[in-house]
């Protein structure tokens, strides 16, 4: 026994010495010093094809939404390849599964950049997954195109945001409610960053514009217990509910809402995370005549949308709806293509420099890239759910709204960030 422990102690010393030596010999750049340029990943553009990364949750709780985004990304890639590719090179889409898990997103983003040497990546849905991959794209100076409406207050030099920021979705929705005379609001949301930030903005808006928030409740993501919340809503005397619930929770919430006797007439619900796909899974009977706020609906008029819907349904099935995040994902690939062609290069710095003013006749109408914020000018659209499960527009902002992720142009929002 004693001989054993001595040799083990010697071994311990050996290991610690090796560890210490390794640590001492490897002293890299200090913080604050210029980040070494060799950390930037080199995208591989040497062959006749270039790789693009598609980073979505293909499994886990977010798969139901993110698979539709993945499908429309694949559709855009396929169309672009059929039309000759980008700068004469065909796109080779590499799909990685984020598995609805934020650290996995970070790992897969790194795999796409370092292993696959992609020229750009498209994807992510939840803000948490975006926050997890943001440092990865910034570290390797690689581009991410993010296609979902979000809570704003972010501008990364290596992310292009093709979904709405708050002043293109939430603020117009509040303007609309105010115009309808619905000034007493009850806020219901899932417990995570988007609803909490959205509600902070709503409260600041209400305070400045003479609206009142009569209640605010959060349910854990995936929660299906809404008895208490709906009872509180019913007794609150609110004019309308502003709903930022995400995913499955909406099914339980709207069922409870209907069975408690509340209707779209007596107390309308305006939702910002329910699109055509979700309407189908919640059930049209629970949602009829309720309001939504987006920038695109399957019913949005225009030749570009007719073509998009037809192409999507030809590829994935006649009964498949198209939705706002799917459209934002679809146009993100085209916007990147336009940027690359204007830059004449896949080089990230050149693509970024070329981005300002890129225009596209998108299914949602005309969109323009704002180079300063790397967001997109978008038209806000309030819609009403119809008996057929489709959403029809009841109001729009008339013209594309300039993106303002930090709400700098709104006096009432000055204390928010």
């Amino acid at each position: 026994m004693s001989g054993l422990s001595i040799s083990r102690r010697g071994l311990l010393a050996g290991i610690s010495a090796a560890g210490a030596a390794a640590a001492l010999s490897a002293c890299g750049a200090k913080t604050g010093s210029d980040a070494s340029s060799d950390s930037a990943a080199k995208a591989d553009t040497s062959g006749s094809t270039v790789k693009v990364g598609l980073l979505n949750s293909l499994s886990g709780t977010m798969a139901i939404s993110e698979v539709t985004v993945h499908n429309s990304l694949l559709l855009a890639v396929k169309e672009i390849n059929a039309a000759g590719g980008v700068l004469g090179k065909k796109l080779n889409p590499i799909s990685q599964d984020g598995a609805s898990d934020w650290p996995t997103f970070a790992e897969k983003a790194e795999a796409l950049i370092k292993d696959d040497k992609v020229v750009a990546t498209f994807g992510c849905w939840t803000s948490s997954s975006r926050k997890a991959v943001k440092p990865v794209f910034e570290r390797y100076k690689s581009l991410l195109f993010y296609p979902v409406q979000y809570e704003g207050l972010e501008e990364s030099p290596y992310i292009f945001y093709t979904g709405a920021t708050t002043n293109q979705q939430i603020v117009p929705a509040l303007d609309y409610l105010k115009k309808q005379g619905l000034t007493k609001l009850y806020l219901v949301g899932s417990d995570y960053v988007f609803p909490r930030t959205a509600n902070k903005i709503i409260k600041a808006y209400a305070k400045a514009k003479g609206m009142t928030v009569v209640g605010e409740d959060y349910a854990p993501l995936g929660s299906t217990e809404f008895g208490t919340i709906v009872n509180k809503v019913k007794d609150s005397g609110a004019d309308a509910v502003f709903n930022t619930l995400n995913g499955d929770s909406n099914v339980a919430f709207f069922k409870e809402y209907k069975s408690s006797g509340l209707t779209a007439k007596s107390m309308p619900v305006l939702s910002v995370s329910i699109a055509e796909e979700e309407v189908k899974s919640i059930g049209t009977q629970y949602l009829e005549d309720q309001l939504t706020a987006w920038n695109y609906y399957e019913t949005t008029p225009g030749a570009a949308n007719t073509k998009f819907v037809a192409a999507y349904q030809a590829e994935y099935g006649k009964d498949k709806p198209t939705s706002d995040p799917m459209e934002a994902a679809y146009i993100s690939v085209y916007l990147w293509k336009e940027m690359v062609e204007k830059a004449g290069s896949f080089d990230v710095a050149k693509v970024k420099a070329a981005s300002d003013g890129i225009e596209l006749d998108a299914p949602e109408g005309k969109v323009t890239v704002d180079g300063a914020t790397q967001h997109v000018y978008k038209t806000a659209r309030i819609g009403k759910v119809g008996a057929d499960g489709l959403i029809t527009e009841v109001w729009n902002s008339g013209k594309p709204i300039k993106p303002d992720p930090y709400l700098k142009g709104y006096d009432w929002a000055s204390g928010l960030s």
């Binding site: 001989g3 210490a20 890299g28 990865v136």
Partner: protein, 382 residues
């Protein structure tokens, strides 16, 4: 479960001279091989990206060392290791976020400027600006929580499934609390976007390698420490408590204290793993703490062989690697496979893969009747 076999096996091996000689060289040689592989060959053979993945897997392996001690040796079904992993991770991440903020002349971490209450830094964040305090907390905080919980639970003789459920409830509670405190903990996003690690930029691949070396060295050190515990008098006592708590009590020991030590040490290891995970992966979030990840922490140990230190560590690395690799090829299938692995390992191969050879040998020689007992006994000496 017959106690005589379990207690006599180690004694016979250490008294019989030829076996002892073999044993004397087997263990140090194994450690040396591990050290050469982790500190020498892996950094040369793997790309930066693969090495950073390995660093992540090794963090899980560090948790598995503790699981092997508490569950494998002590019979404590530790299904809530996510709590300790999370506490260690958050302690480290809070320090790194504060250091990042200080480096840019800010007083608040970036997420607090966006989502915070606007009242300045919460009081319980402030001490984490001190690196020594934060480092100590990565280990002491999980150990203190484990000591507090363990003290009440073991004194009251809460065992088996009740202990497992309690530790899971704690994991769920912590994750839910963190999600709700967006202004001070980052909510579901967790703490991300770490720029520096004690003054070294994490953007630099050289420093990323340094983080890997630290993690590998810590793993080897903790394995040596656990090995020492396993063969000590305490290790024997722990196994005795696992196999027959009442007998140990009648012999005059307090089993509660014996279990408490294993639980607290395992918590400290999980905390250290969480702390090292942060610079290696760059994120700590409630998603790494709740019930599912807590189960994930023990699956590797269960598959590899929870009673065998090497088995548990290799199991943790293998399962994490399989998750990264297989989830690419079969996205939706991975979760099912993970559950299946756990069920098979716990239900049919209690000693894990480390005991597979022994089980097969027993089958062949026709002594398969006592597989469960045989597996346990041999698993412990492996």
């Amino acid at each position: 479960m017959t106690t005589p076999t379990t207690t006599t096996t180690p004694t016979t091996t250490s008294t019989a001279p030829p076996v002892a000689l073999l044993e004397r060289f087997r263990v140090p040689a194994g450690f040396a091989l591990g050290a050469v592989l982790l500190l020498g060959i892996a950094p040369l053979a793997l790309s930066d990206f693969r090495l950073s993945l390995l660093a992540k897997y090794l963090c899980y392996a560090i948790v598995a060392v503790g699981v092997s001690l508490a569950w494998g040796r002590g019979g404590l079904m530790v299904l809530g290791q996510g709590v300790f992993f999370g506490l260690g991770g958050y302690a480290m991440a809070m320090h790194l976020k504060l250091a990042d903020a200080a480096a840019t002349g800010e007083t608040l971490p970036d997420f607090m400027q966006l989502y915070g209450t606007g009242d300045g830094l919460p009081w319980w964040w402030a001490p984490f600006a001190n690196p020594a305090f934060a480092l100590a907390m990565t280990v002491l905080l999980p150990m203190a929580v484990a000591a507090l919980l363990g003290f009440f639970v073991f004194q009251r003789r809460v065992k088996g499934a009740y202990f497992a459920i309690l530790s899971q409830a704690l994991a769920a509670a912590l994750a839910i609390w963190l999600v709700g405190q967006q202004a001070t903990t980052g909510g579901t996003n967790g703490l991300t976007d770490m720029q520096g690690f004690f003054g070294y930029s994490l953007d630099d691949p050289v420093n990323q390698r340094m983080v890997y070396f630290i993690i590998a060295a810590v793993l080897l050190l903790l394995m040596a420490l656990a090995r020492q515990l396993f063969v000590s008098r305490y290790g024997e006592l722990l196994i005795a408590v696992r196999d027959s708590e009442e007998r140990v009590r009648f012999l005059g020991y307090n089993p509660a204290n014996v279990k408490l030590v294993a639980y607290v040490v395992a918590a400290g290891m999980a905390g250290l793993a969480g702390a090292l995970f942060v610079p290696a992966v760059g994120i700590i979030s409630p998603a790494l703490i709740g019930i599912v990840p807590s189960i994930g922490f023990v699956i590797g140990a269960a598959v590899g062989g929870r009673a065998s230190l090497v088995g548990a560590v290799l199991g943790a690395i293998a399962v994490a690697w399989a998750q990264s690799t297989l989830s690419d090829a079969f996205p939706a299938a991975w979760t099912y496979l993970q559950g299946l692995l756990f069920v098979v390992a716990v239900g049919f191969l209690p000693g894990g893969l480390a005991s597979l050879g022994v089980v097969l040998r027993k089958r062949r020689t026709g002594t398969a009747t006592g597989t469960a007992t045989g597996t346990r006994t041999t698993g412990e000496t492996a």
